[in-house]
């Protein structure tokens, strides 16, 4: 293959190109422009992401490039839309917070975000182990830094090592640093484990290309080992139990708008990677991976729903609830795998997964933005993100319906969507996942999941209760800043509109995976 052959079909990389060029352009612009008004970079990022998002609709991105290492299909394009939309909302909703944490260095945040997004979009189309792992890491590395964003510490006044880890109440303690470190430690271990599994996969398949691997791999203990390591490694990224330990801590510690992004986009990417591998070269070996996925589902549902109940910090609570939600995503994957196994065909399961990821993105980002709007109203200018522990406890939502009716209504909508109440987008996601699972023959799992999600309502409703059924006391009125408010409004409209008319979106998802 010559260098020119390799470039055949490279036009399907248009969206990735926009993101990559955007990231580098932002870097250059950041260096070139004076430190005064870096906020413009944020708007540029929005523009670029909107451009990329539009391009997924206007350009024909289907085909293969680089001799099959990169494939553009409906699933990949749909995933890219989710990533770009999550990036867009993440930037829009976080603009104020980013500028507040580091007014002169906010450009770097956007560059990192774009690089991470590039990793995600590449991941969605990767059909090659090397590209898969490189893009996976490209996605992860900036996230570590972004999680620690704002946790740039100052030296404590005292000299010498701390006598104990119990810091005095007055001392600043740096939640973002801890959030980033935990994400990093668990992430690095997980990704090296996944790499080990992938190296074994390469060993038994003799190639890095998925299409070749699908033909050459034979089941056996080594494959089981490799698959277990890969599933475990990627389960970290989607935050499925027991690889979820970083989730609540990082959610609580990192800045809220970033968490809004972190809680949806990389998870969707993790699912894309899992789908790529498990329903690609491993589609013929469902016996090997389905028990593992099943185990992850059960543990995630139990741990997520159970641990969320006693949480008083909303971000922690949402972290655990996210673990349970990922159980639902894995259920869609399981259903898809079963159908692929029995009939060898694409299934509703994949379309359901896409719809679920989109629904989860919309509602989850919305909730985090509402939290951010409430917390931001209580902050003064010179505070850093980590100074107030009480920023996001349930109590700050007291009587929100009186302090800001619109925000409370949006919050209620998002929470109901996450809880799976009808007429919100999340309900349909849950119903379709469960329906697909039922038809795939996992009736008992459907019953378990339905029961646990009913239990899960309990903690989602705690938020609603705090907003609507507690007196506001002397808490101040809340007004979201313009960008944040716009993000919340858009997400709320999406939640409601798609909740009322889920048909077209679901139909689009089905078309994307080659059905209908």
């Amino acid at each position: 293959m010559s260098a020119f052959d390799a470039l055949n079909g490279v036009e399907i990389l248009a969206v990735d190109g926009i993101v990559a060029v955007g990231a580098l352009g932002l870097l250059l612009a950041d260096v070139a422009m004076p430190a005064g008004n870096k906020r413009i970079l944020g708007y540029c990022t929005l523009l670029l992401l909107a451009l990329g998002f539009t391009a997924t609709f206007t350009l024909d991105l289907t085909g293969t490039a680089l001799g099959g290492a990169y494939v553009g299909d409906g699933f990949a394009i749909w995933c890219k839309r989710i990533f770009l939309a999550a990036g867009f909302f993440g930037v829009l909703g976080g603009m104020d917070e980013t500028a507040r944490i580091g007014p002169r260095r906010q450009g770097e945040y956007y560059q990192l975000l774009m690089m991470s997004l590039l990793g995600m979009t590449l991941l969605a189309g990767a059909r090659d182990l090397i590209l898969l792992m490189v893009s996976f890491e490209l996605m992860s590395l900036p996230l570590y830094a972004m999680a620690a964003w704002g946790g740039i510490g100052t030296y404590p006044k005292r000299k010498g090592p701390l006598p104990s880890m119990e810091l005095p109440a007055k001392t600043k303690w740096h939640r973002p640093a801890e959030a980033g470190l935990k994400l990093y430690l668990v992430g690095a271990v997980s990704s090296v484990v996944a790499l080990y599994g992938i190296s074994l996969l390469f060993g038994i398949g003799g190639s890095t290309r998925f299409d070749v691997l699908a033909r050459t791999m034979n089941a056996g203990p080594v494959m089981s080992l490799a698959v277990a390591m890969i599933v475990g490694g990627f389960a970290f990224k989607i935050g499925a139990a027991p690889f979820h330990m970083w989730v609540p801590d990082t959610y609580q510690g990192a800045s809220t708008p970033f968490v809004a992004f972190l809680s949806v986009a990389p998870k969707a990417a993790g699912f894309a990677a899992l789908v790529q591998l498990l329903l690609g070269p491993l589609a013929g070996h469902t016996d090997t991976w389905m028990p593992l996925v099943l185990a992850l589902i059960i543990v995630s549902l139990l741990v997520g729903n159970l641990m969320a109940v006693p949480q008083q910090n909303v971000k922690r609570m949402l972290g655990f609830s996210g673990v349970a939600q990922m159980g639902f995503g894995l259920m869609a994957l399981l259903a898809a795998g079963t159908v692929a196994h029995t009939s060898g065909q694409k299934s509703e399961g994949l379309a359901t997964l896409l719809f679920f990821l989109a629904a989860y993105m919309v509602a989850n980002m919305g909730v985090f933005f509402v939290i951010e709007a409430v917390a931001a109203s209580g902050r003064t200018e010179d505070e850093t993100a980590d100074e107030k522990d009480s920023d996001d406890t349930l109590a700050v939502f007291r009587g929100l319906h009186a302090r800001s009716p619109g925000l409370a209504l949006a919050g209620l909508l998002f929470v109901l969507s996450l809880g799976g109440i009808p007429f919100a987008i999340g309900f349909w996601a849950k119903v379709w996942v469960l329906l697909g699972l039922w038809t795939a023959g996992y009736g008992w799992l459907v019953v378990l999941a339905a029961a646990l999600s009913a239990a899960g309502l309990f903690y989602y409703l705690q938020i609603a209760r705090s907003m609507y059924m507690t007196p506001e006391g002397d808490l101040p009125k809340v007004t979201a800043r313009m960008e944040l408010g716009l993000a919340i409004l858009l997400l709320a409209l999406l939640t409601m509109a798609v909740g009322l008319f889920p048909g077209p979106v679901m139909e689009a998802a089905r078309v994307a995976v080659g059905l209908g």
């Binding site: 293959m1 010559s2 260098a3 052959d5 390799a6 470039l7 990389l13 990559a20 990231a23 580098l24 870097l27 490039a65 680089l66 001799g67 290492a69 990169y70 944490i101 580091g102 007014p103 002169r104 260095r105 770097e108 945040y109 560059q111 990192l112 690089m115 991470s116 590039l118 990793g119 590449l122 090659d128 090397i130 590209l131 490189v134 893009s135 890491e137 490209l138 590395l141 900036p142 570590y144 830094a145 620690a148 964003w149 740039i152 510490g153 100052t154 090592p161 980033g180 038994i204 056996g220 203990p221 080594v222 089981s224 080992l225």
Partner: protein, 162 residues
């Protein structure tokens, strides 16, 4: 046969250096033991005919990672960081877990049956060619990844905005 023995010896060297690296009570020693282990691996690559990788291993790992780590040790408080150990309450559980991992991998791997074995030499040129054709996209992604890592490290390690 001699080559096989030599290989085994290097392997032993790599493993024992690794063991010291995770057991040493002095962090600087630990880093240096890691360097030994990585250098041994580099020799291993040379022996099995991956000379290009051997060089890369030396340059990137021994030259890059080890230096980075030593920087890390020096930049942080030396009094506190150089004296480390494996706390006893974790040692047993860690050893059991590590043994379990080893048993699982080894049992799986030894059940594997391979035949033949290519001895064709892959020239560096072929690697370079593959890098710029089939793996072009991954290569470009890697370049951005390195940029991202640099940026991330700067962003994280820098002090607060004035």
């Amino acid at each position: 046969m001699i080559a096989m023995i030599a290989l085994s010896l290097i392997a032993l060297c790599v493993v024992s250096a690794g063991l010291f690296a995770v057991r040493s009570t002095n962090l600087v020693h630990s880093v240096l033991w890691l360097a030994v282990s990585l250098a041994g691996t580099s020799a291993l690559y040379l022996m099995v005919g991956a000379s290009f990788l051997s060089a890369i291993q030396i340059i990137l790992y021994t030259g890059g990672v080890i230096t980075l780590m030593l920087f890390g040790v020096m930049l942080t408080d030396r009094n506190e960081t150089t004296k480390i150990g494996n706390p006893s309450e974790r040692k047993r559980l860690g050893a059991v877990s590590a043994l379990a991992v080893f048993a699982l991998i080894a049992s799986a791997v030894s059940s594997m049956s391979f035949t033949g074995g290519g001895s064709t030499i892959v020239h560096t040129k072929a690697i370079g060619q593959a890098l710029l054709t089939e793996h072009l996209l991954a290569f470009e992604a890697l370049s951005i990844l390195l940029l991202a890592a640099m940026l991330a490290a700067i962003v994280v390690a820098r002090r607060r905005d004035p």
